[in-house]
Symmetry: C2
Subunit: 424 residues, 2 copies
């Protein structure tokens, strides 16, 4: 079991018997300084295995990255975006001080990307080729992340198993309350009315579909290619007496058929790939009635950059957070009007803080389910996601849209904030 899961993360194992100790050499220090410079000289400390230290901004560091052996150093120098993650997972690199603060500091100091760099574009294309989101590629990519066990996700997600950004109109809310607030926020934006039909692309464990069917009186057809998630979703809908109002379909969004009053997709676009946005737009165009509304909720970014190699390889194969500009490739060809875009970046940071706290509280169980590298890898993934949102590296866009000629629009967005009206 342990071995299988270690394979699953795909980190190549190599002897952890410390190779080539001795003192850190002058050329090694010089190369590390170049690396720090390329990162914009963040105020962190580097400590080598021999106790030697280095600080780009002397006296300013509150966190320290510890490199435990020479091989980890050379791997880091060669491909920092991949090997920091791998060697952190294997325990050959450590961080002293708060992990989130360390990552936030590093992300915050990174020089601004040059948007149209051809190198970056090529890199992006190369990455996307590796884990292409063809019908089959998508199944493999989604299986990698979402089918590692409902029991694992249950340890640290909320009761509705929402594995997407919650909505904290009050930042002191519990995670449970904020996830319900998110579900309501989405439903209100879509102005769902009893008796309407909704198609959902990428339904996770089915929580939004249950919420819409239960509280908004709609019929939902919800698509997902994760077998574990769909099994869970079907079982829960049956238990909760919602099976007659929700049909969970184990299939790709590209196979959606029928006409609906609303299209909704929360947290799927990250797995679609920019090269398929035109196709996704076509699916929506086919599925929406003339007065239909649509909402896409997705992680995004300000500038087109590939995910870090480590996250793309070990955590989310085939994933890519689009820019708003790229998202428009879904809407423009079909003359959809974008009605409302809300950026919930800091809400995702807050959501992830809750997840990380719960995750850490269940560390021992996670290690029993998997192994120590898995525990560290997922901690790094959750922590670096927090830092990505707090440092503005990632965004969270909720985009509401409708057909260009749909004029039955509310005169303001006040209805989203009228809590009296929406009390259950």
């Amino acid at each position: 079991m342990k071995q299988e899961k270690a394979d699953f993360l795909g980190i190549p194992s190599f002897s952890s018997a410390a190779p080539g100790r001795g003192q850190v050499a002058t050329p090694e220090r010089w190369l590390m300084r170049q690396l720090l410079r390329s990162l914009g000289d963040p105020p962190i400390r580097v400590r080598f295995w021999d106790g030697a230290e280095m600080e780009p901004v002397p006296g300013a560091a509150r966190t320290t990255v510890v490199i435990h052996d020479r091989m980890a150093l050379w791997r880091l120098l060669r491909h920092p975006m991949l090997h920091f993650g791998d060697d952190y997972s294997l325990g050959r690199i450590d961080v002293e001080g708060d992990l989130v603060e360390f990552l936030d500091t590093v992300f915050r100091h990174r020089p601004r990307a040059r948007v149209s760099s051809p190198t970056r574009r090529q890199l992006l294309e190369r990455l996307q080729r590796v884990h292409r989101n063809t019908l089959r590629g998508s199944r493999e990519n989604i299986h990698h992340h979402y089918d590692i066990g409902n029991d694992f996700y249950r340890l640290w997600l909320d009761h509705e198993m929402q594995y997407t950004c919650a909505y904290f109109p009050d930042p002191t809310m519990t995670l449970e309350a904020a996830q319900l607030a998110k579900l309501d926020h989405v439903c209100r934006k879509l102005q769902l009315k009893p008796g309407e039909t909704v198609v959902e692309a990428g339904c996770g464990w089915g929580g939004l579909a249950r919420h819409m069917a239960r509280y908004y009186g709609v019929k939902v057809k919800a698509y997902n290619i994760s077998t574990e998630q769909v099994a869970y979703a079907r079982e829960r809908a049956a238990q909760e007496g919602l099976a007659d109002r929700i049909e969970y379909v184990l299939d790709d969004y590209r196979t959606i058929t029928g006409k609906y009053d609303a299209f909704v997709s929360v947290g799927m676009l990250e797995h679609v790939g920019a090269e398929h946005y035109h196709e996704l737009g076509g699916v929506i165009d086919r599925a929406l009635k003339p007065n239909g509304r649509g909402l896409i909720h997705s992680i995004g970014q300000n500038q087109a950059q590939p995910m870090t190699a480590w996250a793309e390889r070990r955590i989310f194969p085939g994933a890519y957070p689009p820019t708003l500009r790229e998202m428009m490739l879904i809407f423009e060809p079909y003359n959809f009007s974008v009605l409302d875009v809300e950026n919930l970046r800091l809400h995702y940071a807050r959501t992830l803080e809750h997840w990380l706290q719960r995750y850490d509280a269940h560390e021992a169980e996670v290690e029993r389910m998997f192994d120590a590298p898995f525990v560290r890898a997922w901690r790094l993934y959750l922590a670096s996601s927090i830092a990505s949102f707090t440092s503005g590296k990632l965004q969270l866009f909720q985009v509401l849209f409708a057909r260009a000629q749909h004029n039955a629009l509310p005169w303001s967005r006040a209805h989203l904030y009228d809590n009296e009206q929406h009390k259950r």
Copy 2:
């Protein structure tokens, strides 16, 4: 005076002594049918000078376009997007029934544009070459529209001389109330605090600057290249005791200097030209403090298409309503985070309905100021603008943004809708 203003619109005069009457010929009817087909066969009626009629959808027409002579017909067939407007202005083409309804019907039936058509792109580029928004070109373009006389605009704008989309949270509001609501909506989105500094690009007659200085306690530096508008704005600020808090600068937005807590631009982007968005982003990047916020309010569209030739030539030289995708060219290179996009399309239709009503009530005065073709041209411009917004041909985007690392964000947009808090 009259002659000068007729020259001003730039419609080439030609003899209005009816050239070549007689019956409409079969080839002429055939060509007109082709034109109607290319427009998607809208349910309108065409009546020729000899009384003959044509209906793409028999019995469905509620409005009729009347072509008074053969030359108007041939001009229309040759370049409908230019000559419909010109010959309507000259009274050689009429519309029976409601003008807005006629235009809405035509716009609504137009086949969906193919987004990436190279022909369209070329056309767009050609148009933009004619009225390039260089520093000098912009001055000429802006002078053409905005310097035709404050007295003229005073006839049909509100007291604050807001010549941009109002905000009607209640659609029965007066225009005056809706324009104030717009000003507040913008200020609230920007979260202006007393003592802060604001730079405004394209300030019109200075109403937003006055509103911000008076009710939000900020200092404003407002740029505009329309001499008549700036003269008016300065005078009014002096009269109202706001001159110490507002500096109106008669200069191009590209010359903005200094650092500000907020950048705002309402209704200027339409005149910037997509080829200058990168430059505009650079101006904003230079002007905004680290915790600064920005808002751009602009007419937009779902698909990149040039303005109709008539509007671009006679009404708004150099103007172009961007898609959201194009607007991102302002923000992406500088790593700005888009926080909120609101589409106020139907609010602009409502605003224009108010303007048209007031305009029509002052028809005699407008004709005294200018001449009959001017009266008809501007009526067509206002009516076709209404129809553009009701048919979804045009959008109105309010885009709020900030630097990527600015984390002092409100946890929800409820503060925009909390009317108790904002009562004056």
